[in-house]
Amino acid sequence: MSLIVKTVTTIMIGFIFIYGAYIILHGHLTPGGGFAGGVIIAGAFILKILAFGSEAIDEKKSEMGSSIFESVGALLFIGVAIAGLVLAGTFFLNFLPKGIPLHLWSAGIIPFCNIAIGIKVGAGLFSIFLALAAVKYVMTD
């Protein structure tokens, strides 16, 4: 892509990432949540690959990293659920204190679930894009 696209991408990518993180962390207060924020974060990485080409990143390392992050997100989500089972006796029970409504530190396990889903969805969509974008191979037969 041209120099203009690359420069604008370099400036914007951090803001897009921060916006995605904001959507995830405020998922229990404002519209949005883990899924929407995760897709925005994946979009930031996809924008970088589109602007700079797939040569700009180490594909093997990126694919390994996004796979690990996706698994970590899924395990975090199940971990929150099992923590409810172990500590309070019911799968997915909202066992943490609810806090004051409309404050950032409220709603018990919901922010943690949002963070886990955000990591999982962002890394998952990015690894799908990487797998599709990095096709430089053909079948042997």
């Binding site: 959507i23 998922g27 229990h28 207060l29 404002t30 519209p31 949005g32 949540g33 899924f35 929407a36 897709v39 925005i40 994946a42 979009g43 996809i46 589109l50 694919e63 796979s67 996706e70 899924a74 989500f77 199940i78 659920a81 799968f91 997915f92 909202n94 609810k98 806090g99 409504p101 409309l102 409220s106 709603a107 018990g108 396990i109 919901i110 679930c113 949002n114 889903i117 999982k120 969805v121 998952g124 969509l125 690894s127 799908i128 894009f129 797998a131 599709l132 974008a133 990095a134 096709v135 430089k136 191979y137 053909v138 079948m139 042997t140």
Partner: protein, 180 residues
């Protein structure tokens, strides 16, 4: 509610163009028009959560489609062929079943209660208890991550499985490099 129907007509026209046009880039743009119309309809019926998800997913999918079109071909060669008798037969059959489906759907939809007066009373319980039981100000978050968290776990499993499927299909093991 007139703008809702305007968007529905616009979406139908755009979807028809997307399937029939020869230039694939124009087809992708028409598909984007359909997707963003869905997002606007979500805003009109006051579902901002869904609108955000629809917008970001639409952007990512359109970007992937455009990348694919730029890398492969711009022209759809499968449409515009001559009409044969089997084509006509399949179109007539499809029209018959579409009409049957339409009649059945209209009769079924007339049985439904009016918009906003659902027979199930679960939703009103969620609205009443959302803030006190789950504690989140965003009611949608309360429902999908507290009352219905098991459904969200299933949804996350679907995404996880699809990622595993894509990586398994596109893996580089057993293939050789296209260019050195």
């Amino acid at each position: 509610m007139i703008e809702l129907y305007l968007f529905l007509v616009f979406m139908t026209v755009a979807a028809f163009i997307a399937t029939e046009i020869k230039d694939l880039l124009a087809a992708v743009i028409s598909l984007g028009a359909v997707g963003f119309s869905v997002a606007i309809i979500f805003i009109l019926v006051q579902a901002p959560d869904l609108a955000i998800v629809q917008i970001v997913v639409e952007v990512v999918t359109i970007v992937i489609f455009v990348a694919v079109v730029f890398r492969t071909t711009h022209v759809d060669e499968t449409i515009g062929k001559k009409l044969t008798s089997s084509h006509v037969l399949s179109i007539v059959g499809f029209a018959f079943f579409a009409l049957l489906f339409f009649v059945a759907t209209v009769r079924a939809l007339q049985e439904l209660p009016a918009f906003g007066n659902a027979t199930m009373k679960v939703a009103s319980e969620y609205i009443r208890l959302g803030l006190s039981r789950a504690g989140g100000a965003n009611l949608v978050g309360d429902v999908i991550l507290d009352f219905r968290a098991l459904d969200t776990l299933g949804e996350a499993t679907v995404l996880f499985t699809s990622v595993i499927g894509v990586i398994a299909l596109m893996r580089s093991v057993g293939r050789k490099k296209l260019k050195a």
